[in-house]
């Protein structure tokens, strides 16, 4: 009881009930967990792990889906299924790294801008955010990547650079409207420091939208990462990135359709999974109807 006073109460079963009211959210969660599992254990569970990197076996090339290679082989004889499994690693890494880089500063800037409304901080932060938001995201990423050496790392940096303002905007709108709520005033009157007010009073009220957005963004980041690789500005062959695979396999359409179609379908599936999960996260934080 003593320690519980400083933490809050949390009802896990009720949260699950709210989350899974729409069964599709649970489906989304399942997909995401599956992708994560495959990504982490790819070297152990994929049928041909060595195919993920440089591998050439011309006699086995161009095979359509069969019992040996479930999703077929590509132009170098590499197993498509194994490469897709390893491809998940790059996709998830992209999502995790970009969001880790983008969310903390974006959220903090939004909180600060909202709390110090009408001051210089707000103006500087929001104008900077506006500038970055004014450029179409893909264009900005492409420009950055074409200037630097194309690589997975640089692609991630480019995407991060244009992603943070969305979080600042989102959190700013909540933070600035909560700024004048009675409970914030009450905290100020009690003598709480701005640090406490920003992080302990205002931030908890922003968590719902932030987490929902993060979930949906994961799908978007993966898509943009794949797009960059598709045009050759991200992961370079022979890296088994999903976008690279679609781009390489595109040359062989429509006869050897499986080389690009399966990676493409997988991208769709992953993004769909994150979107459905995002719906569930949003429901989780939704206010309860009386």
């Amino acid at each position: 009881m003593k320690g519980a006073i400083s933490r809050g109460g949390f009802d896990y079963r009720k949260s699950w009930h709210k989350f899974s009211k729409n069964y599709l959210s649970a489906v989304g969660l399942g997909v995401v967990l599956l992708v994560a599992f495959v990504a982490i254990f790819a070297p152990y569970i994929s049928p041909y792990p060595s195919h993920a990197e440089f591998y050439v076996n011309y006699p086995e090339a161009h095979e359509p889906p069969n019992w040996v290679h479930v999703l077929g082989t590509d132009q170098f004889g590499r197993d498509v299924l194994s490469r897709i499994m390893f491809g998940f690693r790059y996709s998830l890494m992209m999502a995790v790294v970009v969001l880790s880089l983008v969310v903390p500063p974006g959220v903090v800037l939004g909180l600060v801008a909202g709390y110090y409304r009408g001051g210089k901080a707000e103006m500087v932060i929001m104008r900077a955010a506006d500038i970055f938001l004014a450029v179409p995201p893909l264009v900005l990423a492409l420009s950055i990547c074409s200037v630097l050496t194309p690589s997975v790392f640089n692609a991630m940096m480019a995407v991060s650079l244009m992603w943070w303002p969305w979080y600042t905007r989102l959190v700013y709108s909540i933070s600035s409207s909560l700024r004048n709520e009675a409970f914030v005033q009450a905290a100020e009157i009690a003598g709480a420091s701005p640090f406490h007010i920003i992080f302990r009073e205002i931030l908890p009220n922003c968590l719902g939208p932030i987490l929902t957005k993060m979930t949906l963004d994961a799908g978007w980041v993966i898509l943009i990462g794949a797009s960059l690789s598709f045009v050759g500005l991200g992961a370079q062959p022979p890296t088994p990135d999903l976008g690279t695979m679609v781009s390489e396999g595109g040359k062989f359409l429509p006869e050897l359709w499986w080389i690009s179609m399966f990676p493409a379908m997988t991208i769709v599936l992953v993004i769909l999974g994150f979107n459905l999960l995002g719906d569930g996260v949003r429901d989780l934080f939704a206010a309860e109807a009386v």
Partner: protein, 326 residues
């Protein structure tokens, strides 16, 4: 009793929530005659709004009617089809809500909203002339004592004061209320002087048009000058029913007595005592008298059975074992 405009009989309504079933209404009965003005007083959560929503059939999706009937002009409201129900809403009954700001759409002008209602309620089968509709809208605003009705039609809700917005809502309800008007705490969000103005206006309109009214309030003084019959609700139970004067001069139910005593007096006399205890939770409620846990006179059988409404004469009914069998 036959011949009543509206008869709610033994209504039981529950809400389904994650934690279980909220058994809110437990056998609520009210009757409203032609041209009769009836009031319901009770505190938050007692179920008065639920009862009104049941009458208008605008209950939330998780509400279940577990028993009882609602008869309106011979129709069985609870089993009425959508079309018939909408016809009733258009031509016979209407409701005024507590917060006029929430009842008006902020992005449309008053004129748009009011004229939509006028068109819908009066010109259902024919295509109306724009001028006719506007004239009718102006008439309605005038009957709600609004100055400069033409200017108001062209204004947005935020440009009007709270009292004016509530008068606009009254005008809107007059378009369709030919028989019954339900007013759910119409003055609560307004200042005292404005509330006074609105209530007097409402009284005048109701008497001019011969409407029946159900007035809900938690302000006991506001209903006193308005209604002829009063119901007192507590925790989903109708605990007392009496003509207005009778209820104030001779309150019988312990809850009613406590409630009347809890109102601070303008003449002074100190801060009144509240009522000890709190409203029971609808989740864990039993079939006992719902006021039992807070009642000074509670006996053993009060904690087992709920008392029916005992008739003590003079149109006065009390649901309390102090006044009838056991």
């Amino acid at each position: 009793m036959t011949g009543q405009l509206l008869e709610v009989n033994d209504l039981h309504i529950s809400y389904k929530v994650y934690e279980g079933l909220l058994r809110v209404l437990n056998g609520v009965s009210i009757s409203v005659g032609e041209k009769e003005k009836v009031g319901i007083i009770g505190e938050s959560g007692c179920g008065k709004t639920t009862t009104m929503k049941a009458i208008m059939r605008i209950l939330a999706a998780n509400a279940m009617v577990a028993g009882g009937t609602i008869a309106y002009k011979g129709h069985d409201i609870l089993r009425l089809g959508r079309q018939e129900l909408m016809r009733l809403h258009r031509t016979s009954m209407s409701m005024i809500f507590q917060d006029p700001t929430a009842a008006l759409n902020p992005v449309f002008k008053i004129g748009d909203q009011l004229q939509d209602i006028v068109r819908y309620s009066e010109w259902r089968s024919s295509v109306p002339n724009k001028q006719e509709v506007r004239t009718r809208a102006v008439e309605l605003l005038k009957s709600a004592a609004l100055p400069e009705p033409e200017r108001i039609l062209d204004s947005y809700p935020f440009q009007l004061s709270g009292g004016m917005r509530q008068r606009v809502c009254i005008a809107m309800s007059l378009a369709s209320a030919k028989d019954l008007l339900i007013a759910d705490e119409p003055g609560t969000s307004l200042d005292v002087t404005i509330e006074d103005q609105i209530m007097r206006l409402l009284k005048q309109i109701v008497e001019e048009r011969g409407l029946s009214v159900i007035l809900i309030s938690h302000s006991i003084g506001a209903v006193k000058g308005f209604v002829t019959k009063l119901y007192v609700m507590y925790a989903g139970m109708m605990v007392e029913e009496a003509p207005t004067e009778e209820l104030f001069s001779n309150p019988l139910h312990p809850y009613t007595q406590n409630l009347l005593k809890a109102v601070p007096k303008l003449t002074g006399g100190g801060v009144p005592e509240g009522i000890a205890g709190r409203i029971p939770s609808y989740l864990t409620i039993t079939d006992a008298c719902r006021f039992g846990s807070r009642c000074r006179f509670a006996k053993e059988h009060c904690h087992i059975n709920a008392p029916p409404a005992f008739d003590v004469g003079n149109g006065h009914k009390v649901a309390c074992f102090l006044y009838g069998g056991s």
